[in-house]
Amino acid sequence: MTPSALLAATASALALALAFAAPASAAGTARIGLQQEPTVLDPTADATASIDGMLAQNVFESLTTVNEAGEVLPNLAERWEIADDGLTYTFHLVEGASFHDGTAFDAQDVKFSFDRAMAEDSVNPSKSIWAPIASVEVLDPATVRLTLTRKDAFLLFNLAQGDASILAPESADRAKTEPVGTGPFRFVSWTRGDRLVLAKNADWRDAEAVSLDRVEFRFIADPASGAAALMADELDAFPGFGAPEMLPQFEADPRFAVTVGSTEGEVILAMNNARAPFDDPRVRQAVNHAIDRDAIIDGAMYGRAAPIGSFYPPHGPAYLDLTGTWPHDVEKARALFEAAGVAGREMTLRVPPFAYATRSAEIIQAQLAAAGVDAKVETVEWGFWIGEVYKNRNYDMTIIAHTSPNDMGNFARGKDYFYGYQDDAYDALWAAIETEADAQARAELQREAQRFLAEAAVHAFLFQLPKLSVVKAGLEGFWASSPVIFQPLAGVRWAD
């Protein structure tokens, strides 16, 4: 081929392409952008959040589900009874439900799924959900009984999660690449690195309520590319949009609706309580006095986050505002650092490569410097963070969002957990929370725990990770806030 022939070929390819470009959104289809691409499609075998985000309660269902307010609702179990001692749960299952391959759903599938998760060789990422469960019995095809060894106030909530999805023995082995569930959408195709397609399950028990015929998830890791895809009409929604600095341009554009909701992610400046100098409460108090949450939220999150003073989400029913426990006071911080003998000392702030963490780190570094402490910021990649910081506890300070719901128990995980923190009084408090069935009494205990953690200054609690979403005007039903990591799509629809 001569150069001119090549040029001509390129030009004709370009012309051809122009004729096929500019796709429009079809009614009944939603194209949803996601930052994180899944590794496998089995939520019971991998903790990757996007697996649950796409498939839990859409392709797979669980015995229970959760609404946007975080309340537990019936799902594959249409009702249940809890014995007075709180140790026996009897679930009555919906009848007539079936898996997408035609297999009927019954109590045996529940027993299979739970036994699989509890087994010795189980690789369920949330195996601890089943820790209190002693046995799973099938009473009849529509009734399952769980027997517990101890009370668990969060069991019904936990059973709604993707980790507790109900799979059939006929198809569970292939779930990593061909997920088969009972949900309102069935799996159509997955092109790794590019997209995952779902279609409406016309046989679902409440199929009339499902508006979308087709859902396409597109994996776009870079927020700038995600913004361009929205602007170019390649996407209809980007729930969990990663770049707060780009929101004003979407807010000013009538084609889009922007929501700023909450998540279960508490962002903390974690301190290694087991390592000097953070084993000294004065040092942790000094760090708390040194930081200015408003400046961090303005600088790192462009103002789009709610400050927290303890380890509990501001949208939760038991929330207490404890942001005033250690007011921003540079002089006090400096005095405490000096009293503890760490003034002028160098310490490291090892952060994972997430925008909220790296941006916060730079601001915190400056704030600590103002109080007389030199913090060296090290941005490490995720695999390194999880190995060195989390597992080997080799760090001074780090910044991380804890995205699980009901995770105040982290502080009762003992000295081997990466906080390096242990306190008998708190352990007892958490044990009481975990087993208290009465919501009012539990909320009171949770408030007490929030005060405890704030006053102990275990960490510096920074802000609640917001959920930023950009959705095309007219596409309704996306949750602004995420009480869980899944997003049910049965209620998403295009307005007429």
């Binding site: 392409a17 590794t39 075998a45 170019a232 190995g387």
Partner: protein
Amino acid sequence: MLLFLLRRTVGFLATLLAISVIVFAVMNLLPGDPALTVLGIDSTEDARAALRAQMGLDRPAAERFLAWIGGALVGDFGTSWSFGVPVAGLIAERLPLTLSLAASGMVVTLVVALALGMAAAANHRRPGDWAMMLLSQLGIAVPAFWLAILLVLLFAVTLRWLPPGGFPGWGEPAAAASSLILPTISLALVQSAVLARVTRSAALEAMRLDFVRTARATGLSPARILWRHVLPNALAPIVTIVGMQFAGVVTGAIVIENVFYLPGLGRLIFQSIANRDLITVQALVLMFAAIVVAANFLVDVAYVLIDPRLKARAT
């Protein structure tokens, strides 16, 4: 010639073996726990232990290396720890896109660079030459990913002529081709700026030689002299740079794939490293190394073909 090829092939395989040992050693020194990365920070220790056993991580490193290299020799690169499917399949499904992108980037680079470089040489010290030098300076200075973002804003967001990213697969040839246009341009522009300058100086060098004056004296047209006599004699330095650029285009594709969210090998290597899917990373690094070594090998062969004088020395 045959001996030359044989010697080069043995060297090629020895290099790959050395690389595979280094890659395996480095991957095993990397901090992090693959099972913890897959199962997350809320997982229990016994679930992680079960997964490590499934991954074969409970066996000693030397044993794992021998099993891996033995498999690799027969094309079995093991099963990905995070994706749970054979690594060879993962690579095979993404290779066509990355190769298409690298090939189209290289073709555009060659066409643009040769045309501009030769034109500049032909118009030495005239406005056309200066314009090319200025443009190429600009091309070298602009980072490819930034140019990519600008191209997306103009052609995808404002004009809506081309998609902002994604790849529909070769099942839809027209849409697939259109989705590669912007990535190709982003990839090729910097490379062609470099190559155009090399072409220009190589051509100027060759134009000073006696045979060009002779050709001109015999009345050949300037275009014929340029393409038939100057270019072949200027090719050696151009081929050297092209060989280096091919490696640059393949690795540059990794960055460009991220901007245009293309499901190629670049995205796969990014994700595999983050997931501590070391068995996949090993295969990918080995393959990228093989591509670079192979490109160098082809350049060496090309020298012999371009310059008959080297053939005598090679045999």
